[in-house]
Symmetry: C2
Subunit: 387 residues, 2 copies
């Protein structure tokens, strides 16, 4: 069993993230950043809890132009927040539909409401996690405040991981790799797919995962048809192609990859699809170097996929960023010209449609180093494994 | 082992939900409802997937004044959506930052952009799950469209559960009740809290849970200090009070309750806090009858809590609704005058602060019937159990 990394981050990591954000804010003319979503609050404060599962209460973190971030949060989170590096913690008794933090936020932002600009996440892959009514009320009460989209700023920061972050993602990947290796002992012909899922979740916890927020997959004769479904009660049958795709976490960081197996025997089309995707991943591994773009990685994989693809199974891209969220910027797609830089953590996720509406997906997780892609996952077998 | 309910719902359930929504829309003068969040999309369509873990793609469901809802979704979800009762499914190749469904939505909503009103969730406990830039662009392209807050309408529908929903929540509660009953065999002095969490997750999966999206708790000498933390590596020690609070799911429906134990021996203050909260729950059970209000339930519990509470541990309310989300409307709080009606599923969650910053929370789940509260959870022991 490999070494288990330290949990959490030293305070210096949060100080560095904040300093980098503040340098970018100065460049972009932002007086502050107002953040409402879990990954961003955790990124700058270290505030880590599953309590975000409850949609009831909004949470706010404000990154000023200088100094530590300020937390404006429900009182129920005060004790946990006091354990982070944040010092200025302002709380209210939430939920309070009439004033869920709006007075506190208004006080905090009022000094900037004389024409200054505050950044907010408004762009791709983001949302505003507070009631829209409250947001409109907040702005109405801060007449002179200008809002700018800070998605690019946050995206640039979060896309490049620290060594400590890479270690956590690598640990999550190692746990899932060990679990996938045990799958032939867990799954068998005749077992309902739902039971395979449940057994695999237990295996991952046993291997050290904290949580399995994401587990999808499919199994069907000669290939699966869908890659985002919950499991059915249909028993695995000889000739099925089985796929499991997991986003399990360790210390709040995700892995995100899948594996494919044939039950009993494999049909020729599925074996060929597997081979094409395995080689497409190889092409992606070779292309994922500093200085390349996401489009380059996409094209490298697509060039191999084109040997077989019938243009079914449009999943929109061939991989993405990975970290505190199951999927993060950037996207391996023709439209994404993001430059690949060292210490990006990425998935390579080639997929293709074949036969009568069947789809196959492969996925690996990598970190980009100076010399190129370094696998964080145990590479899938080069030929479709048979259980 | 009790009977396992059927998964999913008959089409008639979705038709009934839609008909009720449409009756309320007619009452409120709404030409449609535009929904962007997972529970609402699932409520009206049956579209059920963990793929929402990925923040990358927006998903839309439009409930028109008459007829079935219309899905405007990424192509990756088309196959799964075709398995629901929805017929009009419009897809695009997502992600597509330049046009993530906006053209499709604009076409769909254009007929209403001549002064008609479309409902959107803008109120308490809601958020808009799409990039704010895209929302602003959508509205700008539909000059004559008026938006109204439909939170009240959706809240009224979702607060009252069908028998099929109650059965699923009851099943989730039964799974967690059996798992909590096994805790004394799982947890022991000397065991790090993190390992207790992991073993408890495995137990819940073994008892039949699909997933455990929420597990928090605490353990400390003479009482815990925080109720939303992830677990530490600190070993359980004699004199600790241990609390676990879980929101585990079955077929997409949550339970949400906790249990408390003392390790080895219990201090007097914790035993007294436990007794007060157990009796506060009894008062809540007696008060949760059709015709009462959430405020009545709050006051009934608060009256008992007042025997001891030092006003620490402000969690803002003493329970809430429960269903497709860990926490739903309404809130047992002085400000919530929602009338309790039959087939509401609720938590009773009295808490109090005591000693030097310690907090204790109890929680049970109930369904409100004609005659009053019916427990869905196996009632907690009347005295603090010792492991």
């Amino acid at each position: 069993m490999p070494m288990i990394p330290e949990r959490g981050f030293p305070e210096a990591e949060y100080a560095m993230r904040t300093a980098k954000a503040q340098a970018a804010m100065a460049r972009d003319g932002l007086a502050g950043l107002l953040l409402t979503t879990e990954p961003e609050m955790r990124y700058f404060s270290g505030f880590h809890t599953l309590f975000w599962q409850s949609p009831t209460r909004p949470w706010f973190l404000f990154v000023p132009a200088t100094g530590k971030p300020v937390a404006v949060i429900p009182e129920i989170g005060a004790e946990l927040m006091r354990g982070t590096w944040i010092e200025d913690i302002r709380t209210w008794s939430a939920p309070a539909p009439e004033d869920d933090g709006i007075t506190l936020l208004t006080e905090l932002l009022a000094p900037h409401a004389r024409g200054e600009v505050v950044g907010l996440l408004k762009g791709h892959e983001t949302h505003l996690r507070m009631p829209l009514n409250d947001y409109e009320r907040l702005l109405a009460g801060l007449g002179g405040l200008r809002i700018a989209d800070a998605t690019g700023l946050i995206r640039d920061l979060r896309m490049v991981k620290s060594e400590a972050e890479i270690e956590k993602i690598g640990h999550a990947c190692a746990i899932a790799s060990r679990s996938f290796a045990r799958l032939p002992e867990i799954a068998a012909e005749g077992q309902p797919l739902e039971d395979v899922f449940r057994a695999f979740r237990r295996e991952m916890l046993g291997q050290g995962a904290d949580d399995i927020p994401y587990l999808v997959g499919g199994a069907d004769r000669g290939g699966y048809h869908d890659v985002i479904s919950p499991p059915s009660r249909r028993p695995l049958a000889r000739g099925d192609i089985l796929m499991l795709d997991t986003g399990s976490t360790w210390d709040g960081y995700f892995c995100d990859f899948d594996r494919n197996w044939a039950i009993g025997s494999a049909d020729d089309a599925s074996r060929r699809a597997y081979d094409v995707l395995w080689r497409a991943t190889e092409a992606g591994l070779a292309a994922a170097r500093p200085g390349a773009t996401c489009r380059d990685i996409f094209k490298a994989m697509q060039g191999v996929i084109a040997e077989m693809d019938s243009q079914g199974g449009d999943v929109g891209r061939l991989g993405h960023g990975l970290g505190m969220q199951l999927t993060e910027w950037p996207s391996h797609a023709a439209w994404d010209t993001t430059e690949i830089v060292e210490n990006m953590v990425l998935t390579l996720e080639p997929s293709l449609g074949y036969g009568d509406g069947r789809i196959m997906v492969h996925e690996e997780n990598i970190v980009v180093r100076k010399g190129g892609a370094q696998l964080l996952t145990e590479r899938a077998a080069p030929e479709l494994p048979i259980i």
